[in-house]
């Protein structure tokens, strides 16, 4: 077990180095930060001088090596755009993204699972048809269109919810939360719905497919034959067995929620990490972009690692196969 984790950790480091390398190679195409950092009055000499001081004239490999060296010491440099240390900025924006992602995941589960069960059990009811048809909206419409649409209805037309921002926040020793104020909750509703729509659809369709699958199996038939109530069969046996893949997918989707939140955060001016990245992209803010991409890679790596370990713990077959291979059960 320990050897397995160590091996996976080593692999993770390679993955993160590769991500850093690729993103660094791409930075050559996002443009020149110097022009954004100096006013138009700056002389050609000033520009050349700042470029030299930031080390932008060094060969790509030297810049990359310096980045990795500093990153290993937890030093990500200073944001060209906001003039503040990147690590501070990311720590400051992390809570906003995490609260949005958590709210979206909860919404996706709260709507996805019951609707999936319902549409699986009552395949032919008109409600199932309506749900399945509308759920197509969730997968087919781009996030920014959904966001603008919700803003138009709830902010401009009805005037009941704020169109942007995070509302009032409370600082709990480094973690700013919007969950303790009414304004924070009101501000969370539209972005959370926007971000969760795709995931809700995914979970709904997954649960429905799994339910249909499980309901056809022998043990469900036997359970019915034994005279168990519908309720016990559907929820006690069928739903329980559908949940294993659902949990796996949900876990993996948290990673993509963080990645997808870039668009939602931009539409709603949600002050999270994705927004920080997009604003940095427009400014060619290399330190922010590099740190963000490495961090997202880290999140994915950690989630995958946790899922792998959970499999190892949950699924006895993995362990037995291994033991068989080692010749211990013979």
């Amino acid at each position: 077990m320990t050897a397995f984790i160590v091996r996976r950790l080593l692999q993770s480091i390679v993955v993160m180095l590769a991500v850093a390398f690729v993103s660094f190679a791409l930075f050559n195409f996002v443009g020149d930060p110097i022009n954004n950092m100096l006013g138009q009055e700056a002389t050609t000499e000033d520009r050349a001088e700042l470029r030299e001081r930031l080390g932008l004239n060094d060969p790509f490999i030297v810049q990359f090596g310096r980045f990795v060296g500093n990153a290993l010491q937890g030093e990500f440099g200073i944001s060209y755009r906001l003039k503040r240390p990147v690590s501070d900025l990311i720590a400051e924006r992390l809570p906003a993204t995490m609260e949005l992602v958590a709210a979206s995941a909860v919404l996706a589960l709260a709507f996805g699972v019951p609707l999936g069960v319902f549409t699986g059990l009552r395949r032919d009811s008109w409600f199932s048809r309506v749900v399945l048809t509308t759920s197509l909206v969730g997968v087919s419409l781009p996030t920014f269109v959904i966001g603008i649409f919700l803003i138009y209805i709830f902010s401009v037309t009805l005037g009941v919810l704020p169109s942007f921002g995070r509302g009032e926040t409370v600082d709990l020793g480094g973690w700013t939360t919007g969950l303790l104020t009414a304004g924070g909750w009101r501000s969370l509703i539209l972005p959370a719905i926007t971000l969760s729509l795709f995931q809700t659809t995914l979970i709904l369709r997954l649960v429905r497919a799994e339910m249909l699958e499980v309901l056809r199996t022998d043990y469900i038939r036997f359970a019915r034959a034994r005279g168990l109530s519908n309720r016990a069969v559907n929820f006690g046996h069928a739903l329980k067995n559908t949940l294993v893949p659902v949990i796996t997918i949900t876990g993996l989707q948290v990673g993509s929620l963080i990645a997808f939140s870039i668009i939602t955060e931009t539409v709603f001016q949600w002050p999270g990490m994705g927004f920080l990245f997009i604003a940095g992209l427009n400014f060619a803010d290399i330190p922010i972009m590099a740190a963000y991409l490495v961090m997202v890679a880290f999140v994915f790596v950690v989630i995958n690692l946790v899922v792998d370990i959970l499999y190892y713990v949950v699924d006895p077959r993995l362990r037995i196969d291994k033991a068989v291979a080692a010749g211990r059960t013979g």
């Binding site: 006013g39 009055e41 001081r53 440099g77 200073i78 060209y80 003039k83 240390p85 931009t266 001016q269």
Partner: protein, 527 residues
């Protein structure tokens, strides 16, 4: 009955309280696309940063909404001799922390603006020394005579010396240090508003400086300013339409009609101090991005003139700009010293004449060239370029359009990696010298830093240099006029149009629009 009375009474009290709080605080909630980059007054010379900082920091001189120069922290300024200006300072002014404003702060701030890490060196590089004569008099010595020093100093803000020393921000931030400095998120100026809260990208809150020296001239009633940037265009407009904002600095062109039609909202418009034009590499022996070998068609003035006359600017105005532009004959706007309507008259749109000129120059069959264009810098920049492509095709020039984000576009320009490009130019000093210095002077490392055309004219360089030290206003105006004649006569640039600014605001708010796109909230009034 009694219960009813009681509830009624409570309601009355609640309404009265609500009304009282509403009256007590006039909050100006506004937004634009990008946040200030820093609150350090000398670190970043950039639009949104200036707008934010000028609410909290004053300069020695100020401009009103018609861009006329007025006293600010200085009450009077006079040239003592050819290279010394005397500035008399305002007495009784206090910084936000309660300390007194004196000549020491002026000496300190001007020197700070000259520091290596300052982004305002361009406005103070003529200054050789700043000397305190007494607490309220300073002498500013310049290398040569500098008649435009007062208008340059309008951009240089004054901060407290004692505060800067105490907080270790004697010089503007150096990126190489990898550290945030105190002045990035804290301020201590003398300005009309005091910083209350600064959360970059989220909100910046300021409250009224009730002791501001300029309250008599501008008795504004804005108690609090809440700035919340919104990057996404549709969201920003939605926030204005839903009443979450009182003022929008940069409503997108496509939404202006909608805003105008919304009851309760007003739109104000004025010609901006920014001109959009095209530049061509006319010096290289062979163009880097064209299909002509061993020759540079742009070196021939007839080709440049043909391109000029082939561009139908009225159609661009009508179709691309939705009427919101003023066709330009020179690369600077009304309001800039040296601009005249006669200069701004364009060569007529005449495709036949253009074709004839191309034939004369030996390019009957035309040629192919790449036009570099930004797609997120100027109003409808990419669309303007798209409109230019078929217009130039009429005279045989096959234009390959390369539209890129500004950070890529300007990188290419800075590296002179372009043959044909779009650029816009604003003039913060409101003097033509600023145009010649950056766009027309021969590129020599210091001057001509935005002249990517290779245009180089000895007389132009000489006249530009003289403009800086000629104290006699009439003689200086002649120099300016001569320089314009050279630049326009040679068709070094293809002028397109002057941009128009639109500001959207609530009917309840009265805020004068200003051509430099830089709102001053001490001019605002809630009705």
């Amino acid at each position: 009955m009694r219960a009813k009375l009681f509830i009624g009474g409570m309601l009355a009290v609640a309404t009265a309280m609500a009304a009282a709080t509403a009256q007590a605080e006039n909050v100006l909630r506004w937004s634009s696309q990008g946040d200030a980059l820093t609150l350090d007054p000398h670190s970043q010379n950039e639009g949104p940063t200036t707008v934010t900082n000028q609410q909290m920091y004053d300069a020695l001189v100020q401009r009103d909404w018609e861009l006329r120069l007025h006293p600010a922290l200085a009450t009077a300024w006079t040239p003592l001799d050819v290279n010394t200006w005397e500035f008399k300072l305002r007495q009784g002014v206090k910084f936000h922390d309660g300390s007194d404003f004196t000549a020491d702060d002026v000496v300190f701030s001007l020197k700070r603006a000259k520091a290596k890490t300052s982004d305002f060196k361009g406005y103070v590089n003529s200054i050789t020394d700043v000397v305190k004569v007494d607490d309220f008099t300073v002498h500013i010595r310049t290398q040569n005579a500098n008649p435009i020093l007062p208008s340059q100093l309008n951009s240089v803000r004054i901060m407290s010396k004692a505060w800067a020393v105490a907080n270790k921000v004697v010089e503007p931030q150096d990126y190489a240090d990898n550290e945030e400095t105190f002045a990035v998120r804290n301020t201590n100026g003398t300005g009309p508003f005091v910083l209350k809260l600064r959360e970059p990208d989220v909100q910046t809150v300021m409250v009224k400086n009730a002791n501001h020296w300029d309250l008599e001239t501008y008795p504004h009633n804005v108690d609090r300013i809440v700035y919340r940037p919104v990057q996404s265009n549709p969201t920003r407009v939605a926030a204005l339409l839903s009443g979450e904002l009182d003022f929008l600095l940069d409503p997108p062109v496509q939404d202006l009609g909608r805003i105008k039609a919304t009851p309760g909202l007003t739109l104000k418009q004025v010609a901006q101090i920014r001109t959009i034009f095209l530049g061509m590499d006319q010096a290289s022996p062979e163009l880097k991005y064209a299909d002509v070998k061993d020759a540079n068609p742009f070196a021939d003035k007839r080709v440049r003139q043909a391109m000029y006359q082939a561009i139908d600017i009225e159609t661009i105005k009508k179709k691309v700009m939705r009427g919101l532009s003023f066709p330009a004959g020179i690369v600077t706007s009304p309001g800039v010293h040296g601009y005249t309507e006669a200069l701004d008259k364009r060569l007529p749109y005449d495709v036949d004449r253009a074709k004839a000129l191309m034939a004369e120059a030996g390019y009957d069959d035309g040629f192919g060239v790449t036009l570099d264009c930004p797609n997120n810098r100027y109003v409808n920049d990419e669309a303007i370029c798209q409109a230019v492509v078929p217009m130039l095709a009429q005279i045989g020039i096959k234009v390959d359009l390369a539209a890129r984000p500004k950070s890529v576009h300007f990188k290419r320009l800075q590296q002179r990696d372009t043959s044909f490009y779009m650029l816009g130019w604003g003039v913060p000093t409101l003097d033509s010298h600023y145009v010649f210095e950056y766009l027309a002077h021969t590129t020599d490392g210091k001057r001509g830093s935005w002249n990517f055309t290779g245009f180089s004219n000895a007389r132009m360089d000489e006249v530009t240099g003289k403009m800086l030290s000629e104290v006699d206003a009439e003689k200086r105006d002649q120099l300016v006029a001569e320089a314009w004649d050279i630049l326009k006569g040679d068709i070094a640039y293809l002028p397109l149009h002057h941009q128009v600014i639109s500001w959207a605001m609530s009917d309840k708010l009265d805020l004068p629009i200003v051509a430099n796109d830089s709102p001053n909230f001490k001019w605002a009034r809630f009705k």
